[in-house]
Subunit: 396 residues, 2 copies
């Protein structure tokens, strides 16, 4: 059987492939991107679920509309208008089966084989995977400390048939970097008059533990803006509930058709349950608890990195979110480091799957949200021993 | 913005587009394909959900594996081995976001633009929509009383790059027809030595109210078999839970990659909830109740059709499932009939969206599962008045 080019060219997820190894009980894993289960509002969710059933009966178990449960879309519109002044209505929102599905739908409706996608380098591997299924040409643009490199962005924008730019402006996956206010404006100036969609994927935006929340690059300002959100990092990822926000009616109509073809509609039981949870609990207080937890865990990791890692390893200092990005400057590739790290029972994600055009890189992603402080310290110490051994070998 | 060819060529669902009209409270709708909400095991599901939370805690709210919850896959394997002697293991099963997603994934991994799909004519419109997103060439084969027309099938099998055949062998959507045992064998003989996948989509198989259950065409016999199942028609469609069964390891590996790219994994909360429901309740007794309900409702519709419809309208007599298929032989197209039917407050689905190569057809789908007996009688009577008026006009 000859399989489709799209699937033959699509990498299976490195993270999901190593789950069996990294999930072993004696392995310290900084590999996944899992929220800390402590952060799930278990009791309040259970109450919300029972209330949703008691009050709505069989209709939460029936087929439902493709764009999603109206009160939940209205809740999201009100929240983004209040917090980010977007000027949107419930009709500008479509609920998706996690924001992974939003990435898949966007590329399905915008990309013919060979059309261009501008992507941060390094970029989110789930996005690379979703987009690759539509057989695009990737135009990677270096993600710097302040955001996308503007010179590279200018060149990329002039490439043929570029359909959209994919960004994660807050606490990016994998780097943890956040675009500065200045860089957001500069990127907006470059794209605002072009027939190119700017996608801002913002699953972590609420999880800021340092500094002030910044305005989006294009959301609320441009017809060509698409903003993605998710309940996975603040309520539950297991229910797979994300959303697409855009005032671009034509785009949203095509996305709705693609959504029908993909899975008819998003799990309606979960939509009711999460709506009930959001409207009957102090969501902001709950998010504040997650922020404090991740703030503490990130501090522990950064302190351990400072204390134990050799000076030739640099790393980012995130203001929120879930990840630290480290760069080895000792001649070792991240894959070599990964293999030796498995020997000492520590896992992380080598940088390779976050690049569309590079291999054998010297960068890696460390997750701090899903390990207790003492485990983080222990894991970083173990990794440090490998790096020190490597230095000794190098010097000898 | 230039959208992708795949989405520009994909019809949005006729059924979903007319929902606003057909869902009005004063409209009698035979249009949808909704299970009767009476059939949802509401109380037992609520118990199962609470048990799932109490016993498993936060892990049912966390990210999960792409192929699905192992005990549920094992349950499905055991059931199909017991009832259909398929000889499968849990690893031959992947849980999907409804069986609509299974249709989407199959075409994504098998079809390059222009590759062939053999489809029943008329065929399931959700499948036509899902497949069209992969830009195939459709080779429709007439679905007759006994199953696919064999002469047409032979010709279609010899078309270039045919990748799979899509069938609904039991109580087909839209016709309600069931392949005979003999025709199943004949189809199997034609396909068994070819490098072509046979998809058997069987969401209604358990809902048989007449005759005996028949062996699948290829499931359990051939490496090239794919069997699709769903909990939508017997437990709940709202939770979007379906499954793919195939012993073809290479195919399943590609489907898993496409599934990761599409939505990472199926809602794990719902997988646990439905597993708890299935393992703590008399599922067969529950299904028996649905069968009795639909048997009664189908009888009412068939009797009303016999009594009120003119003789030049023919219709199928399903042995199970949810639909009757009617053919007008009075010169009227189904779309004309539909428009007049809306004037008397009755909706159905005109046949057009079930064909890949025909327009202005004289066939239509009637659903009997989601209306009470007296409503069914009233609706069919109202439709009959239009047909009688048309006859008078024709004669005069």
């Amino acid at each position: 059987m000859q399989y489709s080019n799209r699937v033959l060219n699509t990498p299976s997820s490195f993270i999901r492939n190593i789950l069996k190894v990294t999930d072993a009980p004696d392995v310290i894993s900084f590999a996944g991107g899992l929220p800390n289960p402590i952060s799930f509002p278990l009791e309040n969710l259970q109450e919300a679920i029972n209330r949703a059933i008691d009050e709505n009966g069989s209709k939460i178990f029936q087929y439902a509309s493709t764009n999603g449960y109206l009160p939940l879309r209205q809740y999201i519109a009100d929240k983004y208008n209040r917090k980010h002044d977007l000027g949107i209505t419930a009709d500008d929102i479509l609920l998706t089966t996690g924001s992974q599905q939003a990435l898949s739908l966007l590329s399905q409706v915008l990309i013919n084989p060979g059309d261009g996608i501008i992507i941060e380098e390094p970029g989110y591997l789930g996005a690379i995977q979703a987009f690759t299924m539509s057989e695009p040409s990737f135009y990677p643009v270096t993600l710097e400390e302040d955001g996308l490199n503007l010179e590279e962005l200018k060149v990329a924008l002039d490439q043929p048939n570029v359909k959209f730019i994919y960004t994660v402006p807050n606490f990016q996956n994998p780097t943890g970097l956040t675009y500065t206010a200045e860089r957001r404006k500069e990127v907006y100036e470059l794209i605002k008059d072009r027939d190119i969609i700017l996608v801002e994927d913002d699953p972590y935006g609420e999880l800021r533990f340092k500094g002030d929340s910044l305005p989006y690059i294009a959301a609320g300002k441009s017809e060509n803006s698409v903003l993605l959100g998710s309940f996975s990092k603040t309520v539950t990822p297991g229910m797979r509930l994300g959303f697409i926000i855009s005032k671009n009616k034509e785009l949203m109509r095509h996305i709705e058709t693609a959504k029908q073809a993909s899975d008819l509609h998003t799990n309606i039981f979960s939509q009711y349950a999460i709506y009930e949870y959001l409207t009957h609990n102090e969501y902001d207080t709950h998010v504040q608890k997650i922020i404090e937890l991740y703030d503490a865990q990130s501090k522990v990791m950064l302190e351990a990195l400072e204390e134990h890692f050799p000076e030739n390893v640099s790393f980012t200092r995130p203001e929120g979110g879930m990840f630290v990005w480290a760069t080895l400057n000792n001649g070792m590739t991240a894959m070599e480091f990964f293999e030796r790290a498995m020997d000492v029972g520590v896992a992380f994600v080598p940088g390779d799957p976050f690049y569309t055009s590079k291999k054998d890189v010297n960068t890696l992603r460390l997750n701090y949200t899903n390990s207790a402080p003492e485990v983080i310290r222990d894991g970083i110490k173990r990794l440090a021993t490998i790096l020190k051994d490597a230095e000794i070998v190098q010097k000898s």
